[in-house]
């Protein structure tokens, strides 16, 4: 892509043909792994994420145990082959941070009080990355928890919005993320509309932020519809 390529053309159409508030194509499945208590696969544009859930199970190491609730532990990991330039395997500072905010977002809905002294482990594997992987991973983790039968107040859904070429747009893909002016990943608790995860980097006025925020919340609600359809398809009794 040369320097002059516009990310959004004069008709408001993006490089991949989407409108400003249009999501990429999303496909979800649950129960895709045999060993895990719950699992999910999410293909979101060119992103591919797998999530597996174990637990509630015995909590090791022991010092992490909490006699009042289950310890929820999410681990976000990117495969070395998931990006253009090979990523060095293993955790880095970015993945530690994403694991932390993902854990906190899911803690807002999981009824951890029901399982004192145990651990609930969520492993998110990003197999292919094309911007927005924390949202894809969290969306997958959410339905994997449901697939594992872990009681939750709601199914958390995530979606990012941002700014490119001065336009507020939904669900940025890689070129937009690299060259864009802002990125705002958000996770919502759909029933209440409250925010369980929010990060921003970029340069936005208050008005632009509010527009981007509303757009990401609307996107999150659409993602949640697909989550619910996916779970109903798997579990609804005829």
């Amino acid at each position: 892509m040369d320097e002059k390529t516009r990310l959004v053309d004069e008709n408001g159409i993006r490089l991949d043909g989407r409108k400003p508030d249009e999501l990429r194509e999303i496909e979800m499945k649950v129960g895709v792994l045999k060993q895990a208590d719950g699992s999910a696969y999410v293909k979101w544009g060119k992103n591919i994420a797998l999530a597996s859930v174990y637990g509630p199970r015995e909590c090791h190491p022991q010092w992490q145990r909490d006699s009042r609730k289950a310890v929820l532990r999410c681990t976000y990991n990117m495969a070395p082959f998931s990006v253009d330039d090979r990523k060095r395997p293993g955790p880095d500072r970015r993945s530690y941070e994403i694991s932390k905010v993902t854990t906190e977002a899911l803690e807002s809905v999981v009824l951890v009080e029901n399982y004192p002294n145990t651990a609930i482990d969520v492993f998110i594997e990003i197999l292919q990355a094309d911007a927005g992987t924390r949202c894809v991973g969290l969306t997958a983790a959410s339905i994997a928890l449901a697939d594992a039968g872990i009681p939750m107040k709601d199914i958390v859904a995530a979606c990012a919005s941002g700014k490119a070429d001065g336009e507020i747009i939904l669900d940025l893909f890689k070129d937009e993320d690299n060259k864009g002016e802002a990125d705002l990943p958000i996770a919502i608790v759909p029933r209440t509309g409250e925010i369980a995860l929010m990060q921003l980097d970029g340069d936005l006025t208050r008005e632009e932020f509010e527009k981007a925020f509303d757009m990401a919340v609307a996107g999150g609600l659409k993602v949640n519809e697909i989550q619910k359809e996916t779970l109903l398809k798997e579990y609804k009794k005829e």
Binding site: Y96, K100, V101, E104, I195, A196, D201, F209
Partner: protein
């Protein structure tokens, strides 16, 4: 985070107090503790430094510079890196060892505000082909009495404003001698709120942090440059927009002290 009995009791006490519209130290909900910024606190070796006292919280940031290779996709721009150390002397809850999620998050949120606002004019840090200045921002937490992100963010930008360019001659950095100032443009200020019960309070103390369900940090210049929600609670849109307004208001006041 795992909680001890004492912390549960504190949480109860502080939540009740907040619900009665009060804070332990008598501040208004949108009020910051007293802020003191001492630039050049360690100025014989470091290119720039600042000690920030936010109430009783104390954070020292030092800036060091070196010559390094640019990123391949930005060959004409300098580089910045932010690191933080939660020194074990600063809190009974800090331990020796590799950085944990808390400290990684702290440095990444501070980094994001500075990077995204373009505070450091990295295009002026080009030396010659394959050689640019690298700016290291090292955050040293000295005394943790709450709201480390704001204290660290204020100390970081203050240290950058204090920083001088090392002398560079014949391909060598000459230590102990300096040229002009480090080119700094915008001044990002992070402002954090905590949610306790249904109230939003600015600049949480360490006890208020125990009681909080969630926190939200917003770094502003004239625009919004970085945000980070933390904790297992949630925010409504109204609460978020309220926090945005508080961040602009408190950020402006703090910027006057920093500049």
């Amino acid at each position: 985070m795992k909680m001890e009995i004492e912390e549960y009791l504190k949480k109860d006490y502080i939540t009740n107090l907040i619900n009665a519209n009060k804070r332990t130290d008598g501040r208004a909900f949108d009020e910051y503790r007293n802020l003191e910024v001492i630039k050049g606190y360690v100025n014989d070796k470091a290119e720039g430094s600042a000690l920030v006292k936010l109430g009783e919280t104390q954070v020292l940031v030092g800036v060091k510079m070196d010559v390094g290779e640019p990123y391949p996709d930005r060959p004409n721009e300098g580089i910045m890196a932010t690191n933080s150390e939660l020194r074990p002397g600063a809190s009974p809850n800090f331990e020796l060892g590799p950085p944990r999620a808390e400290s990684i998050e702290l440095s990444r949120v501070v980094d994001r505000g500075i990077r995204e606002s373009g505070a450091i004019k990295t295009d002026e840090l080009f030396i010659e082909e394959d050689k640019v200045w690298v700016v290291f921002i090292d955050i040293h937490i000295l005394d943790h009495l709450g709201n480390l992100i704001d204290a660290a963010g204020i100390a970081a930008i203050s240290a950058l404003l204090d920083a001088r360019m090392p002398k560079y001659e014949d391909g060598e950095v000459i230590r102990g001698e300096w040229g002009g100032k480090l080119p700094v443009g915008r001044v990002p200020i992070p402002c954090t709120v905590a949610k306790i019960g249904n109230s939003i309070i600015s600049d949480p103390s360490v006890d208020e942090e125990y009681a909080a369900d969630a926190r939200l940090t917003i770094a502003t210049t004239d625009k919004l440059n970085a945000m980070q929600k933390g904790g297992s609670g949630t925010f409504t849109k109204d609460e978020i927009m309220n926090a945005v307004d508080l961040a602009f208001k408190n950020g402006d006041n703090i910027r006057k002290i920093v500049e």
